[in-house]
């Protein structure tokens, strides 16, 4: 019992270590310490999730049954990695330029962003991977049971129910880990640093464990290399009798699976930081595989010789040290198997959940929720929730499969069966990367044909005769047609079932793919994507597919906020606006920008969905002449000319639009200036008139009572105060504009400042509420607090005056954008019309002809103040009501000497 307890303890400690490593890596990544996380070594080690528990334990069993043949499982990936210059380089580059999130996304993106294709790939991937996850659960429970059996030799083998509860706990723990570290961020292109780091650690543990057992077996049990060779020669597997078909077939199969397995695609392409990491992995990963398989045959041979007949060779790695009384080594070996199982399940769950949520859940959700704009970031929340639920679903399916199949021998064979299943992606994948003629219909036909044959010949029969397929069907074929028997299609009797299924499914798959591709004519978008994928090395700067003249930038921003979250979307839009030289937060919807936006969205929800969402706003995706030119570069010069004309005219239209905007703004300004002058004159005249009138009364009337005198003098005084205030504002503005103002730098917290501003602006009333998040506001500031308060007071007062909702609610939110602090003031009124947004910060501007007569200087002064403080104030479009964003540095420029100053003054 104690051994078992120790094992459980060690396991828990190991899991805690994994959590700590993942957590630490995530934190380091957020702080920007990425050097270590992005190293080539980590990338290479993360590829090791190819070695699952099936290879960790199973390789020895495989070797004990059929000798050296096990090595083919490692030789295939070795050849692929060594030949990275052919395929992997292209695959990774395409994945990075197109912001691919999964293998389903890649295939759908290549064939015109077709969601049908993505759904097919996703379903096949789930069907192929679920049993594989069950296999990992089985291996953990089996190894646990093996240790338990050794700990209590008297007791009967652990009851099945106990094994099942072990599997359930393992599955639940894995789901928790995966959700915690795998769904932290939505954008698949923001890598899962924590997960990758934990996997790299697990890779080291499993390699070390296997090598330790190997060294123990060779130099301890067998007595050196020479003696080991003699033992191998004396054992049952001494004869090299590998069938040629299986040797070549399995090597090819493992090579294909290495490229197509969703989890391999995840670490190899999606989590890749830099194409150059492949360069190192091209030899380092084969070296890892070599080390993993180095001691497999010796362990198998010695195990066969020493262990009692009938013991499970799949568990030799664990039972050999146990039988020799090496408890520590056995625990290490157990941890190795545990690592192999967990890392595979985690990555597979992440990959599958991304596919399921992006290609199945999200399209359905978007379809039913329609385009109704709601809260920013809501799509993001749904996507993350979908991903979390998918992870739980995938692991639960794996657990159910494990329980239903009873964890028997049938499960052990599933590894190769799953390989054949995912190998069906290969024709569409490679065809898409190398052949421009490959079409969507071809890919669908090929996938369906291959998948059906795989299901019929290999997957369904794998449950055993008479479980899912009747005995009669097995023996005589459907409707008694002899040459349709699942294990002998077209009379190919006596073939190895895996090879048989591989041969026929891939033949049908490739055949259908090629023939249909040759027959149909692709859509423009397919041709465009095809050219981008196949010629990825030629033009990395790819042509855009949108012509966004009628696109509304604001609608796009609202949509982007829903998916990416408000902050990220605003940052992206304002960055693009800066690049285009447009002021404010909304860039021109140029084709380049639309393309960039679509790519960014694709990183979160997949290419097909992103395309559909942009199309919803911009209108039908148009493939311009220029894009088609890139597809058909053999076309004549004349088309080039017309495409240039088209580009020119589009550019002209854009410039004209910009000019028109500028002109409108100028006209408006001039009108405003005139109206301001009359306003100022009016404002000056009214008090002047009353001052004059009352001073005349005072001068000319003799018998005024003292009360009347005081009253008239007070009126005169009030009017002069009003005049002074107006002149003060004007003066203030001109001082600010000329840069003659001296800042009085002080320190304080934003919270206090906002309190002060709210109080000064009249506080909250029944009809005017202010919502704040005080925890965000506890930020220290070192700036001109009085001036800043002036800005805040102005904004709060404006909201109070102009917000037309009842009750009016002003929300103040504090955030960060880069090194700037942002304070958003948004109300729930009807906002400011688009044509007025452009001028509200200009002097003399007043929105509408409204009641409460300010001179229209408030916002202009605010802007000047913010510019002096090193920040800015801007109108924030895409919110519900009027919204202003004040951004400022935490420490105002020139404030470094502030503390001494304030000390000296005090």
């Amino acid at each position: 019992m104690t051994v078992l307890n120790i094992l459980v303890l060690v396991c828990l400690a190991y899991v805690v270590l994994l959590f700590a490593v993942a957590f630490g890596a995530d934190r380091a990544a957020r702080r920007g310490h990425l050097r270590w996380l992005r190293s080539r070594l980590v990338y290479t080690l993360s590829l090791s999730i190819y070695c699952t528990a099936w290879t960790f334990y199973g390789a020895v069993g495989f070797a004990a049954r059929s000798g050296l043949e096990f090595v083919t499982i490692y030789l295939g990936p070795t050849l692929v990695m060594v030949g990275w210059w052919w395929t992997l380089r292209r695959l990774v580059l395409v994945g990075r330029t197109q912001r691919i999130t999964s293998i389903a996304d890649l295939i759908s993106s290549r064939y015109g962003k077709s969601n049908l294709l993505a759904v097919l790939v996703t379903i096949l991937a789930v069907v192929g991977t679920t049993p594989y996850i069950a296999l990992q659960l089985q291996s953990v429970t089996l190894s646990f049971a093996a240790v338990a059996a050794f700990a209590e030799p008297g007791a009967a083998a652990a009851p099945l129910s106990e094994m099942k509860s072990t599997a359930l706990w393992v599955a639940a723990g894995l789901a928790l880990f995966t959700i915690l570290f795998g769904t932290r961020n939505l954008d698949a292109n923001e890598r899962h640093h924590g997960v990758v780091m934990a996997i790299a650690l697990e890779a080291v543990v499993k390699l070390f464990a296997l090598l330790a057992v190997g060294v123990f077996v060779v130099w301890w049990l067998a007595g050196g290399i020479g003696a080991t060779a003699e033992r191998i020669a004396a054992s049952e597997i001494s004869q090299f009798e590998v069938s040629g078909g299986r040797w070549v077939g399995l090597t090819m199969l493992s090579a294909m699976a290495f490229l197509c397995l969703p989890r391999m695609f995840q670490v190899m392409v999606v989590e890749n930081e830099d194409e150059d990491h492949l360069r190192t992995a091209s030899w380092a990963f084969p070296a890892y595989l070599l080390l993993m398989s180095l001691f497999v045959i010796p362990i198998a041979a010695v195990g066969l010789e020493r262990m009692p007949a009938g013991s499970n060779p799949d568990l030799f790695v664990l039972t050999l040290p146990l039988a020799e009384g090496q408890g520590g080594l056995a625990i290490l070996s157990f941890l190795g198997g545990f690592s192999s199982a967990t890392s595979m399940v985690i990555v597979a769950a992440i990959a599958l959940s991304t596919m399921v949520s992006n290609h199945i859940v999200m399209p359905i959700w978007l379809h039913y929720s329609g385009g109704a704009a709601t809260v920013s970031g809501d799509v993001r929340q749904v996507a993350l929730m979908a991903r979390r639920l998918s992870i739980i679903g995938v692991l639960f399916l794996g657990y159910v499969y494990f329980r239903v199949s009873g964890g028997g021998e049938a499960l052990a064979a599933i590894g190769l069966i799953a390989f054949v299943g995912v190998a069906q992606f290969l024709p569409a994948l490679m065809g898409g990367l190398f052949w421009r003629g490959a079409t969507r219909s071809g890919a669908i036909a090929g996938l369906c044909a291959g998948a059906l044959i795989w299901l019929y010949c290999l997957f369904l029969p794998s449950f055993g005769p008479a479980v899912l397929m009747s005995e009669a069907l097995h023996a005589a074929g459907p409707w008694g047609i002899d040459w349709l028997r699942p294990h002998a299609l077209f009379g190919t009797e006596g073939m190895d079932p895996v090879l048989h299924a591989l041969l026929w499914s891939l033949l049908a798959n490739t055949g259908a793919f090629v023939i249909v591709s040759l027959l149909v004519f692709p859509q423009p978008l397919e041709r465009l994507q095809g050219a981008q994928f196949v010629n990825v090395f030629d033009h990395s700067g790819t042509p855009g597919g949108w012509s966004g003249d009628m696109a509304q930038s604001e609608d796009l921003l609202i949509m982007a906020q829903r998916i990416m979250g408000a902050q990220e979307a605003q940052a992206m839009f304002s960055e693009a606006a800066v690049r285009q030289g447009v002021s404010g937060y909304l860039p021109e919807p140029s084709p380049d920008f639309l393309q960039e936006l679509e790519r960014a969205l694709a990183g979160s929800v997949g290419a097909a969905t992103a395309h559909a969402m942009v199309a919803q706003i911009v209108g039908g995706a148009s493939v311009s002449v220029r894009d088609l030119m890139a597809v058909a570069d053999e076309t004549a010069q004349i088309m080039e000319y017309s495409s240039q004309l088209e580009a020119k005219s589009q550019e002209l239209a854009r410039t004209a639009r910009q000019l028109r905007q500028a002109n409108e703004k100028l006209t408006q300004l001039s009108v405003q200036k005139d109206s301001f002058l009359s306003q100022v004159s009016h404002e000056l005249r009214t008090p002047m008139t009353s001052i004059r009138a009352f001073s005349e009364i005072l001068r000319d009337t003799d018998d005024l009572s003292p009360e009347e005198q005081t009253k008239y003098a007070a009126i005169i005084h009030d009017e002069t105060v009003r005049l002074t205030r107006l002149l003060d504002d004007l003066l203030d503005l001109s001082v600010l504009e000329n840069g003659q103002v001296n800042l009085n730098i002080q320190s304080g917290t934003l919270e206090d400042l906002l309190d002060r501003a709210v109080r000064a602006a009249g506080g909250e009333t029944d009809r005017f509420a202010i919502r704040r998040a005080r925890s965000e506001e506890r930020v220290d500031l070192s700036t001109d607090l009085d001036r800043l308060a002036q800005v805040f007071i102005n904004l709060v007062t404006n909201a109070r005056k102009y917000c037309d909702a009842d009750p009016a609610v002003l929300t103040i939110r504090v955030g960060r954008a880069g090194d700037q602090l942002t304070v958003d003031f948004s109300d729930n009124g009807s906002g400011i019309a688009a044509d007025e947004q452009a001028v509200i910060f200009e002097k003399f501007a007043r929105v509408g002809q409204n009641k409460a007569g300010g001179a229209g200087l408030g916002l202009a002064i605010c802007r000047e103040i913010m510019l002096r403080l090193g920040g800015d104030i801007a109108y924030l479009p895409g919110q519900k009501g009027a919204a202003f964003r004040v951004s400022l540095p935490q420490v105002a420029p020139g404030a470094s000497v502030a503390p001494e100053q304030s000390l000296a003054e005090s």
Binding site: V82, W84, G244, V248, D276, S282
Partner: protein, 91 residues
Amino acid sequence: MSPERRPVFLERRSYRRRRIADAARLLPLGGGLLLCVPLLWRGGPADGTVTAIIYVFGLWALLIALAAFLSRHLPGSEEGGATGKDPGERE
């Protein structure tokens, strides 16, 4: 874009790089063929497995060494591409 003029002959350095890229493409093919050699030994000596182990693992190690060598000299890498070829760039 396509009818841009491409030189018929390349200078020595670029020529070398292209041939290295060729070698990198051929490596998996050659490796795959050589890995099939043990299949021809069927019905050989009783300790066939030991010989096959030595052959397969030796070939494997050789492939790794060649891949490591090629990966340093293939074009496109900042270190491998530039530092390996500095002498040529001086001209």
